[in-house]
Each structure stands twice: as C-alpha cells, then as structure tokens.
Symmetry: C2
Subunit: 203 residues, 2 copies
C-alpha cells in the first residue's frame, strides 16, 4: 500500500499522527499541495474530490477521508485502540471526534480558508464574512471543552483517542487562522500541551 | 434508555431511520424544535451544544451526535451491519458517510440555514452569500455520486449502509433548501427512489 500525503495540511497530518500512535509505517508519496499538485495527476485520478490524504491498497483499492483511513488501520491493528473500547467507549469517541471536528476543526478551517490571502486559489469563492463568523464559534466550543476537560485527561475519557488527534491539529491550525486560545482555559491548555508533547505530534 | 427526538429535523431523522433499519424500538421523548425547546430545559442540561438528537442511557450517560448514537446501536445490535463488514468494508462506509456528509448533507444544510427566512433565529448570524455558495457544491457532488452509482446499488457498495441514510436525508432536505436534483442524474434518482421506498424512510 501507499499513502499520498500532503505535508503540513491538517487532514494529511491527522493520518500521520494516528499512524505514529499506532507505530505503523506506511510508504508515503509526498504531494506538493502548495503547488496544487493534488488538483490533478495521480491524486485527482484516484480521488475525484481531489483532496488528500489518499490511501491506495496493493490491489488498487482507494480509501480517502482521513478518519476512514484511520479506521481501516484501527481494524487491521486494534491496539492501542484509538476509536474507543466497547460499545459505549466507541460511541463516546465518535461523539467527541465529531463534536471537535464540527465545532472546532471545521470552524478553524473555515476561518483560515475564507480569510487568509494565501487561500484565494484553494477556496473559491472566499466568503470573508463566513470566515469571521466562525472565529467565535471555535472560541465558544473551546470554553465548553475546557469545562469537560476539568474532570478527565483526554477528550473522550481517560484514554487517548482519535478525538484528541483532531483536537491537537485543530488547535495547531488556530495560529495561521489567527484565533487565540484564551489564557484562562487552563484545562484546554494542559490537554493541548500534553498532546503536543507526545512523539506523535511531530509526525 | 430514552431518545430525545427532534421531529422533522434532519439529524434526529438519521437516527430514527437507522433504528427502523435495525428493527430497534427506543422510547422517544419528543422535543418541539420549532419552539426552540432544544435550546433550554431537558435538552440543554444534557447536551451543552443544545442540539438533537440526545440519547440518555439508564445510568444517565449521555450520547449525542447522530452518527455516534447510531454506532452505539450498531455495537449492541450488529445485524444488519449498517457500518460495513470487515476492515475494508467499514473503511469504505466511513469514507462514503463522510463524503456525503461533508459534500452534500452539510452544503444543503448551509444553504437552508443561511438563506431561509424561517432559520433566522436558528442560524445567528445568517450569511446568505455562504448559503448561495453551497448550492453549486451540492450539485457538483451529486454529479460525482451519479458516476459512482452507475456501477453499484448503494453509496458504499452492494449493501445498504449509514452512508445511504445520510444521502436520503440530504436529498429530502434539498427541497426546503431549494436545490434541484438534475433530471439527467439517472443513477442518483434510481438510488434515491429506492431509498425513499424502504419502510425506514417513513421513520
């Protein structure tokens, strides 16, 4: 198999961090997203949505969508479990992965893509008003998350999960999106620092 | 357990259709979303995001997010499998569930929520330009999906899955969002009619 990877972009990084946590090595095909290489050629022929990451299996089967690729590896290599354990554990990881994706990761991405001048060729058309509307959405969700993290170590419970990976990458993405984490969110900051200190964060 | 349900809104319906496909009956607590009852009271005290659906287990544990609630029932009642079978099957269902959610369900929801006058109290602030930008996104994805459905019965393969539920509800939601399915998308129309004819579609 091989993984078409997109470098610094958030979604490719979700898969790389996941693989690092699992201790799985997959041959990578680097794609220069800055040069929009994913909009044509070997990525576009494999993913009609022309996005990364893209996993190609040895028989040519294509899996796209970062979380779908992660789930494939979770099924093949169940330990450490990053999608939760048992019916309730798996439901709570799914819940927090989605809560963080829709209320933090995505608002941050909208703010970046619809406001940043470098995104003009990526997000067509940019709607700057939509970007601005999303900044307070991200800030409000972080306040909610801070209350949750007062009573547990990780987003979905006492074990690290894919919900934390989505959170780490969303918060890292706040810097180029020019949204600040408020100093008083001490639980979010403690959680973020612990995630950023894991070796996988460098993936 | 009990399920706080939101009537005609798309996300509550996703869970009801899923439960109907599984043949599972869960006691329902109807919530009048038209009267914004989910913004306070028994929903807000259970889900800080103040959204529906909300599943409460007998011990008081709360599960929110439609797909997380569905996954909980999938774990408890594996048959019929609606999240796929085997590592690859589960990955492909996740891939198509996400592709349909991010490229059809969500653009249709944005178009409805940011343009429709009845949504003024729900989506604050409405950004009509963002609503308009999303209409062609939904239309373009349907054209892509039409090519895919030329060679298979359901969104993620030869078996019905949660990806089809998300698709059915997204297409039903196109009517109030005022986006039309083009007549030439014969595979999408065949697929949609088959989904709409299943008894679960009435849930």
């Amino acid at each position: 198999m091989k993984l078409f990877d997109g470098g610094r972009a958030p979604n490719p990084r979700r898969v790389r961090v996941f693989l690092a946590e699992k201790g799985i090595e997959v041959p990578m095909v680097p794609v220069d997203m800055g040069a929009l290489e994913h909009k044509a050629g070997e990525v576009a022929s494999r993913n009609p949505l022309r996005r990364l990451p893209v996993l190609e299996l040895d028989d040519g089967t294509i899996i796209t969508e970062s979380v779908a690729i992660c789930r494939y590896f979770e099924e093949l290599h169940p330990e450490p479990a990053l999608f939760g354990r048992g019916a309730l554990g798996r439901a709570l990881v799914e819940m927090w992965q989605r809560r963080i994706e829709f209320n933090l990761f995505q608002p941050v991405a909208f703010a970046f893509r619809h406001i940043h001048p470098a995104m003009r060729e990526w997000e067509v058309p940019q709607v700057p008003e939509w970007g601005e509307v999303n900044k307070p959405k991200a800030v409000e969700f972080l306040a909610l998350l801070d209350k949750e993290l007062a009573s547990r170590e990780f987003a979905a419970g006492d074990e690290f999960s894919i919900a934390d990976i989505t959170g780490l990458i969303a918060i890292d993405f706040m810097k180029p999106a020019r949204i600040a984490v408020a100093d008083e969110l001490s639980n979010v900051l403690r959680w973020y620092r612990a995630l950023a200190a894991r070796p996988s964060a460098g993936a």
